[in-house]
Symmetry: C2
């Protein structure tokens, strides 16, 4: 028998308790042991809950109960759960968490503290999709060449609707908020920060690389308009918010931003609130993992898969995939050195000579233009939409400054990277 304590009995915590009860036959047949929720910790004992487990508002009733084998941390936040999880590990209890922010900031400290105590976090990335296990176990023979993930359902829902229905960002965000797909303050999701947390976790497993959210390029989807969507469609692309980790020589690129993705790619077909992660290994080639990235039951499915793994094996694979952390010796590539193709949208004055000036500004940074499309607007201005060949971010940023300085360019240019 394995006793579990759940700290934080919200949507996911309730699902965990319910599924452990409802599916106890198959779970114990697979785990070889009965798994029982001994106690749940909540902030407000008076709030009605839909599960029948013993509750307390004192976290030490779980942390100091010697009969509890596994602590499931579902509190949210960073520093409070960090303290709780540290205490659990130090008293020898295994830990399962769904907390991506905790791991984005403290995963290497936690790996050091955990040592041989099981610490699992399948639910922290892409909800019900077993992507952590795929990277840690399924693809363990490979050097990972790249990871490209649609790992934020809110952003993907909005972009999918913009593509499919031709509607602008704002009304779809409002609709998503009404449907419960977006928070009242949606910044964390649509700004790319949530995806960045998840990307850092995946990159640790793939590359043994340490980085904080502050260290990497993060751009959101707020500036995308129907003009960009129309351009994307015309040239065979869809627009997705991607978390990208890519090995380039001895460096790793880590970035989160909207990207034009060829419609031929499997990842471009991941629509709506669904998540999908494409992983390229040096030996296996591309594999992709698709499924629900959020929701109580889907997330609980991942949490419980970790509990079952601990019940079966105790400590299984190393927490972050490597027995020796940072084994690979790979370093974070500085943002300015990332090489990409780019799409630009410029609002320009509709008069002779503008095109020449724009191409000259690009040429001075050695950026060559692949495709250009000019669309007149009603107000004596025009939209200039263009795609470049490969260039360094550094050159692109310089070109953007040059372009914005041109008298005929009326607004700050909008730039979206192209992932081929």
């Amino acid at each position: 028998m394995i006793n579990v304590g759940i700290i934080g009995v919200g949507t996911v915590g309730e699902s965990v308790a319910k599924i452990l009860h409802d599916n106890r036959d198959i779970i114990s047949a697979r785990a070889g042991k009965e798994i029982v929720v001994k106690k749940g910790v909540v902030r407000d004992l008076k709030k009605a809950r839909s599960v029948d487990i013993p509750l307390t508002d004192n976290v030490d009733e779980v942390l100091e109960d010697p009969s509890i084998d596994i602590v499931v941390e579902l509190m949210g936040g960073v520093e409070a759960p960090y303290a709780v999880v540290k205490k659990a590990l130090k008293s020898g209890k295994a830990v399962v968490t769904a907390n991506k922010a905790l791991l984005a900031y403290h995963r290497y400290e936690l790996q050091d503290i955990a040592k041989d105590i099981p610490f699992e976090f399948e639910a922290s990335v892409a909800g019900g999709i077993p992507i952590i296990k795929a990277l840690k176990d399924g693809l363990s023979a490979n050097h990972i060449e790249s990871i490209k993930g649609i790992i934020n359902g809110t952003a993907n829902y909005i972009l999918t609707k913009m593509m499919q229905d031709g509607v602008d960002f704002e009304p779809i965000l409002e609709e998503a908020q009404e449907l419960g797909y977006a928070e009242a303050d949606p910044t964390f999701d649509i700004g790319g920060f949530d995806a960045a947390h998840k990307l850092l976790i995946l990159a640790s497993i793939a590359y043994g690389i340490d980085a904080k959210p502050e260290d990497i390029l993060i751009e959101g989807i707020e500036k995308i308009t129907q003009e960009d969507i129309v351009f994307a469609k015309e040239f065979g692309y869809t627009i997705k918010l991607l978390g990208i980790a890519k090995k380039v020589g001895d460096f790793v690129e880590l970035r989160v931003h909207p990207a034009l993705v060829s419609k031929e790619k499997m990842i471009s077909k991941v629509d709506g609130v669904m998540n999908g992660i494409s992983v390229v290994g040096d030996k296996v080639g591309e594999t992709m993992y698709y499924g629900p990235g959020a929701g109580g039951d889907a997330t609980a499915s991942a949490v419980i898969s970790d509990i079952i793994a601990i019940a079966r094996n105790g400590k299984s694979s190393p927490m972050l995939g490597f027995k020796r952390p940072l084994e690979s010796g790979l370093k974070l590539l500085e943002r300015e050195s990332v090489v990409s193709r780019y799409y630009l949208r410029l609002l320009v004055a509709d008069r002779p000579g503008v095109l020449a000036k724009v191409s000259q500004a690009m040429g001075e940074e050695n950026i060559s233009i692949e495709t250009m499309l000019q669309k007149p607007r009603s107000d004596e201005s025009a939209s200039l939409l263009l795609a470049t060949h490969l260039c360094e971010e550094r050159a692109m940023q310089a070109a953007l400054r040059r372009l914005f300085d041109l008298e005929s360019v009326k607004e700050h240019p909008v730039m979206i990277r192209i992932e081929d």
Copy 2:
């Protein structure tokens, strides 16, 4: 240090040896141990090999070498590898195999023999896609409601080409043979038998159900023509060879056949030689796994992931997912009781009254028609294409007999199931 013996050093065996050498740094960092190929067993010692490992033509030099920890069985066939694997397990050696036929026939005997000795087989289904681990570990909290897999790359390549290029079955099969995507005798792949072996393995993990290939419905893709493709396109379908396992009450359906699949479904987007498996869990909902189903390096990636898992954990999860086999008590549903929608293609005489007779034959078996399309042909006959509502296989088979008995029906009707 872990010593490995490889029995059968063909394409996959060579890849296993090469990758264990080429990627030894990352593999030992992940496994926490060095993994070394101690010996390879081949039939013909004179044949040139591209790997530098000690070779023998005597299998006992591996089976009786006490320093060898893991036997990798890559011989092919059923009874010979069964004897080898039994002997390895009985002498306490862990076994890794990519042999789907061996498991299709002997997986439960092998589970009994293996007991607490590790026995892994990730490479036996869908090559480099870690679908076995996903089912055993990632989705372990769930009752599996259904598995729908494109698990034969040859068949999928042919069907994809038929859809995309509008060419008939025969010339594409020949092209596939020239490209090495199809065997000289392609029956095993295009007849659905290879997919059936893989399906039985997946179904054991999902349901703990025992069945042999002979027990289940297996149909190939040989009879599909461009007329069927055109109908499929017109009504928003693609045609895929699917391996389907589905829980219906206390029964499990197991079947392999071509199917019309809605273009909206993620699985319908798996094209060419790629594999994809959609799994629906009662809690997580749908997840899908996509990647290369064959090839030396992709298959070796899966084989080595098993070796690493054994190096890390010893015995991890139970061989077929359940500590107690057949835990679930689910039974195989007899073929005639499977409920499906159907598409039919009839070659009929182009004269009055034929439609009435066809609908009457269907009506007498209580099958209602949803869609009907009649296309004239040049030879005073017509093609009658129709889709039905849900009915039992038993009724459909009776209706097919009635239809074939009609004087105006000129050929045996072609039937393809519809998976919604």
